[in-house]
Amino acid sequence: MKINFTSEQDAFRLEIRSWLEQNVPSKTLASLDTKEGFEQHREWEKKLNSGNWSMVTWPKEYGGRGLDLIEWLIFEEEYYRAEAPLRVNQNGVFLLGPTLMEFGTHEQKSKFLNAMATGDHIWAQGWSEPGAGSDMAAIRTTAVLTDGFYTINGQKTWSSRAAYADWTFGLFRTDLDSERHRGLSFILVPLDLPGITVRPIAQLDGEPGFAEIYFDDVKVPVENLLGGDGEGWKIAMATAGFERGLMLRSPARFQQTAAKLLQLYLDNERDCSPVMQAKIVEAWAQSESYALSIYHTASKMLAGGSIGSESSLGKIFWSELDHMMHQTALKILGASAELSQDSKHDAAAWIKGFMFSYAGPIYAGTNEIQKNIIAERLLGLPK
């Protein structure tokens, strides 16, 4: 056991820090859920890629840096420390990318991975449907194969980034007589095909962070099938594992929020009830524990271990923590907590973060679904 960074890891930290210091835009970009902001964030993806920083955990053979998990965590710490822009292509780089590497054909990898890294293809998720939310196996959108083309009909919803994205990936029912998890296939679909209608959905903050996608006899070549026909569920589970797992929810985000929350408290201490001290400590202690847990898990994985249903524990923990911290911030702000243009306390950012924190316990599998997974797979309770 050695819970300190090596000199190589420190050197790597300085390398990314120096690049970020020189390249992170000094002016905050527009929200990535606006047309203008989306393109600004695409430019930022290109910029990251120009420094070879856009998909650092990808293996070198796919153009990445082949970073191990510890280096990835260092990268993220510096990324959040520099307050660099959100990753508009998170669905691509962190979810579809690793899935393609595991299940894709040679042609698919060469067609999609590079375009993803450069920001030329920004990806949306296409899992949920009006009748298939927590119960994802209830998917009804069909894809019928004839003459080398799938004909897709149906509707996807809550598709993150779909308002402006170039492509979507998702599950479609290719065996019309099948039920539940069987007969589903994982298909990649360009969003500019005839028959596709994208209807943006305004989120709680008023911006279209997700959208409905309607498919009306949309023709997609069979080459866009990822993995085997009917193997979609297995592949989607691997992708969902990436989402819940280490890749997306690095601890730096929550540690940074906890530090800002402490500063907000100290700036307003005279107006705060002493009860708020308890919340400040809770925020620090939990974000610290989350970081320790992730480093512990990353170390175990580097030593040859694997992560399974344990990622459900983390998903519940960080999403509840994130919400608690933002709720606390609003309490500290008092009457300023409704001012969406208050520059003194950065109230606008806290309010936006507060609203976003309500999404955490819902997306990537609601926390209630995660609790079922924990109870059934980790504690051995019956279905």
């Binding site: 500063q263 939990q286 480093y295 609790k371």
Partner: protein, 345 residues
Amino acid sequence: MNFIFTEEHIQFKDAIKAFLKDECTPASIRSGWAEKKSFNQNRWKGLEELGVLSSNLSEEYGGLGMDQVALALMVEEMGYVGLPEPVAEQTFLINDLLDLLPAEMQKKIQEHHMSGASYISVSHPLAPNPLFLNESAGLLLFEEDSYQFVARHDLEFEEVASNDPSRELAKIKSINHSISSTENFEILNSAVSSRGALMTAAFLVGLSQKMIDLSSAYALDRTQFGKPIGSFQAVKHMLADVAVAIEFARPAVYRAAYSLADNNPKSALHCAHAKYMSSRAAELACKNSIQVHGAMGYTWEMDLHIFMRKAWSLMACWGNEDKQQDIIFNTLKSSKDELGVLYTF
């Protein structure tokens, strides 16, 4: 950065786990209650033979030279079986601090330590009623600004009943003779407080794990409405909440132990963090475990309360959640410029 245990850590832990599984059962704990003698000399001897009691003494004193990480893993296993004997106290609060004591006191303690009786009890404002004084060779007594070592025959005390019958506590009535000192008091006081927090934290993690295991087994076994109650989501979710709390207390305990071994200047904060997280986990484990057991959880017959009682005691002593919260808050306030993502390691 390599946050995993060494082979040596794992082997040590496994050896203790295997011993305790057979030697420290709920039945043996209950028989200690019945005889009003929870300190089982045979078990203590067995642990001594395993090298556990002197595990963290240096090899020149016949120890194994184990670090605090090994001790934390050991104490977690002791928590899992609810071990009554004060091995955690002996290793963390006596062995680990010997080097900091004045030479004369060290010598005196070692005379007793090496003699047959071996166990030295501790009293501190955070845990004022010493444990198993009857079985001890002496007492290391911390007061507001000084500390003293008292041999057992120089002490008068009376027994104090604990809500956990496995904890035989005492209250000091008078001291006839002692070696007293103020030397290194601040350092020693901070060291013993941190170790008290960490030791109880590790024990609480083990207890919590035991409680959730007992509750999961019960939920699988007990049927209502024609199915195991563990198939109902209300029950599943209560236990999942406990699993989450334990998962995020555990690495805090391991890191705090490592900080002590590594002489990290922030070890006091890290130990406070460990106790804070594990107290909260244990509190939830108690609450939800008894609820999952239903009325059975409220009986003396069910083994669950063996572990709950110890958890309630250990949450309270060596600094409860609120005390740790104060330590954390004051530390954060004084080091706020360092906070953020670079602060953890």
